[in-house]
Amino acid sequence: MLKIAFDSYTLANGLQVIFHTDRSSPLVAVDLWYHVGSKDESPGRTGFAHLFEHLMFMGSRHAPYPAFDAIMESWGGHNNGTTSNDRTNYYEIGPRNLLETFLWLEADRLATLPDVITAEELEKQLKVVQNERRQSYENRPYGRAELAIPESMYPADHPYHWPTIGSHEDLEAATVDDVRAFFDRFYRPSNASLVVAGDFDPAEARRLVERYFGWQPAREAPAHAPRPPLPVLPADVELTMTDRVQLPRLRLAWHTPALFEPGDADLDLAAHVLGGGKSSRLYRALVFEQRIAQDVFAYQGSQMLGSLFHIGATAKPEHGLDEISAAVDAELARLAADGPTEAELARARNTHLADFYKSLDHLQTRADLLNHYQNLLGDPDGVGRDVARYTAATRASVRDAFARALGQKHLALRTVPEPVTT
């Protein structure tokens, strides 16, 4: 069974600590996950979890700005953070002699960040985030459609209704008090898990973790809202929007079971049968044989509170979205009726298995996987269970999961070229 070797323990204050040693390179990675994402925000206060990720680099009491980046880069280390609907992570990678520095920096910002945050720093990072929104969505072809999908699929009070990046209005309304309150609620040792991976001595690392994190007081883990029932669209939703693009694109989405729920892995496999590579059904039909689409894709967007199954196809010049839509529907209906062939299922399964092997090659990816399973299952030892979901899938289970998904109402979002203005 596939496994990532680890040792784990819990500090008195609730911080989950996970060690994974790999002496093949003189590198260490520190990967810290906080169990907070944009799902923990409130309407009108969106974009906070992600904005917070930026503020975490704005200095802490003993490492004032810009010490966090300056100290580690002076020794060849680097770092970043990412935010999703479900969680926020921070990681540092560098030479093994930086391990203590990484732990000190992470511990200091967890303990003291609200002491030093100022309105000026907040203002600066708001601008950076607004540029990120423009760069990643607004000035990118088809980017605005990506923002419209969750908004259309989830009701206004559902935690996935708003995008992780937030809205310009909410971002501009953010105050230092809001930031402190958000931090106070979610940034606690009991709401975090810390992976140390790479070339280090576990006994020494244990002493360092105790030294920098152990003194921080225990506080109750924040309550996360219970998982709402999977939303049901009352009727199919059809939307058309314009964008600065030359070719129209069709996007379809259905509500599907949450990450690790029954059906989730089956739908991942179904997505591969439909859109994974040249021999997939949609590619073969629309791109290879009929030659009406420039690209197609399909994926199960797995998340903790509920997933979306996505299809996308961009029409070739001289072809329209009605034609694309009919061709896609025919393939979807065929898969829902008959399921994949044995050969298709084997290909999808082997591809997923190979992807697991590849993910084990990279130190920080292994660290992230341990935290992923800790965040999701409450246990870092998840890779074997994860793989088993795929090996257990059958033609019938994939067909049934896909037919159930397809039986739901869905979103059809068309992006069409903006009228040309001269």
């Binding site: 003189p26 540029n131 402190r180 070339d199 090659d361």
Partner: protein
């Protein structure tokens, strides 16, 4: 536990928190051991073991790429590469893709400026089967007319779609203006719509025949491969691949005159994509290690001068950076940022100011130490994955470098002083001599750029045609 908004919790931190930990010496970079042998076809093979994950990565590098495309056939090298896995040996395009998936293998064929490449990554227990397919792709591609029509049509559409992507547009226009129409680097690897138009399958066959030769290639195999059988399996998979003389590389013309400012109009764009460009140097230049360090200081790290100014100090952008493209022929030096449209002129002013600042605020000892550590650890990280090892040693093969190149590079970093960096800055970074290319809303940004003292802009379309 209750939450009290607005009331910061202040913790009494223990002594240990109050001072930064001492940092011990940097570990040495120890590249994996490379072994070398030559197949009967003349193909040089380098192998490196890594057993952290049960996978094998192979990189076959052909020492010619888009740099050999004739001006009116830009896109040929990359289309040739793309056609090779559209059916090979006994399998048509779909059967070939099916079989690779069944094996859990990723096969990718493509071209860059200086080379073409076949990459293969597979679980170690199916690697040899995947290698047989890769051998078919290299030596026995089908190159059918029906596949060609489809691939060519896809490329035509992709080249048209490129105009939708402001980051792609700025690259195409920048290279065209910096290198000029006569230079192979002046044209995108994927070609222009007009150069793709007249390509035929015969051109593809001729390019494949001329350049995809074992004597013009090198192969790296890295990872958890079966060492006992590797050589025999390579001989079998690549049997029938024959050597032949290859044409010499096309010469590089001199740098042409370039405009000071070019704008590609994108009315209503919420961001302006800014590039500063100037001539750089080539892959074999002895200045490369020092320039890599200089670049880490200027725009090649988060705390670099450019990012610190444009992102952290001014909030103009999500990120600003710079880079040297070290290619077979001298490449470019570029600084870049995507900024709020209304901050375009101030961002250009600050970017040019930081380039000038390399001379007015000379590189400090701290910056020098940071640059050295950053580059050393980049080498270590590059060699810390199976794919990274294959890519690093693939590059060594592509440029004909010795196998101890990583250690030579490290040694060069170690002996480069802050004074050396200052001298390199004087030779390579001149804000007055470079060119500025912006993709953005012309009407909104041009007045501000005029106020900076910049001349009237050259206006180009998204393919770099002067309007």
């Amino acid at each position: 536990m209750s939450v009290t908004p607005g009331a910061p919790r202040t913790l009494e931190a223990p002594e240990a928190m109050t001072v930064p930990p001492t940092v011990g010496p940097l570990p040495s970079v120890v590249p994996p051991t490379a072994e070398r042998f030559t197949l009967s076809s003349g193909l040089e093979v380098v192998t490196l073991r890594r057993e952290v994950a049960p996978i094998v990565s192979a990189a076959l590098m052909i020492r010619s790429g888009a740099g050999e495309d004739p001006a009116d056939r830009a896109g040929l090298a990359s289309l040739t590469a793309e056609m090779l896995d559209e059916g090979a040996g006994a399998r048509d395009a779909l059967a070939l893709a099916d079989e690779l998936e069944r094996l859990g293998a990723d096969l990718w064929v493509g071209s860059g400026r200086d080379g073409s490449q076949l990459s293969l990554q597979a679980p170690n227990d199916t690697f040899f089967q995947a290698l047989d397919i890769a051998g078919d792709v290299l030596c026995r591609p089908l190159l059918t007319d029906d596949d060609w029509q489809r691939v060519l049509a896809d490329r035509k559409t992709a080249n048209a779609q490129r105009r939708d992507q402001p980051e792609s547009v700025v690259s195409v226009v920048s290279d065209r203006l910096l290198f000029g129409d006569a230079h192979p680097y002046g044209r995108p690897v994927e070609g222009f719509p007009r150069t793709i138009e007249h390509l035929t399958l015969d051109h593809v066959r001729a390019f494949h025949q001329a350049y995809w030769r074992p004597n013009h290639a090198s192969l790296v195999v890295a990872g958890a491969f079966d060492a006992a059988n590797l050589r025999a399996r390579l001989e079998a998979a690549l049997g029938g691949w024959t050597a032949a003389p290859t044409p010499p590389p096309a010469p590089a013309p001199a740098w042409p005159e370039r405009p000071r400012l070019c704008i590609v109009d994108r009315p209503g764009a919420p961001q302006s994509i800014i590039r500063f460009l100037a001539p750089g140097t080539d892959r074999l230049s002895p200045d490369r290690p020092g320039l890599a360090m200089l670049n880490a200081i200027l725009g090649g790290s988060f705390t670099s001068r450019l990012n610190f100014n444009l992102r952290e100090k001014n909030g103009f952008t999500y990120g600003a950076s710079s880079s040297f493209a070290f290619l077979r022929r001298p490449g470019s030096f570029a600084a870049r940022a995507a900024v709020f449209a209304e901050k375009t002129a101030p961002a250009v002013r600050e970017m040019l100011g930081e380039l000038q600042g390399l001379h007015e605020r000379p590189i400090t000892e701290e910056e020098h130490a940071k640059a050295r550590a950053t580059l050393l650890m980049r080498v270590a990280e590059g060699l810390a994955t199976t794919g990274g090892i294959a890519a690093s040693f693939g590059d060594i093969g592509l440029y004909g470098l010795p196998l101890d190149e990583p250690l030579r590079f490290v040694a060069a970093l170690e002996r480069t002083t802050a004074d050396d960096l200052r001298a390199l800055a004087a030779r390579y970074v001149d804000p007055a001599a470079g060119m500025i290319v912006i993709v953005g809303d012309r009407a909104a940004i041009e007045p501000g750029l005029r106020e900076l003292g910049l001349p009237a802009p050259l206006i180009c379309d998204a393919d770099g045609e002067r309007l």
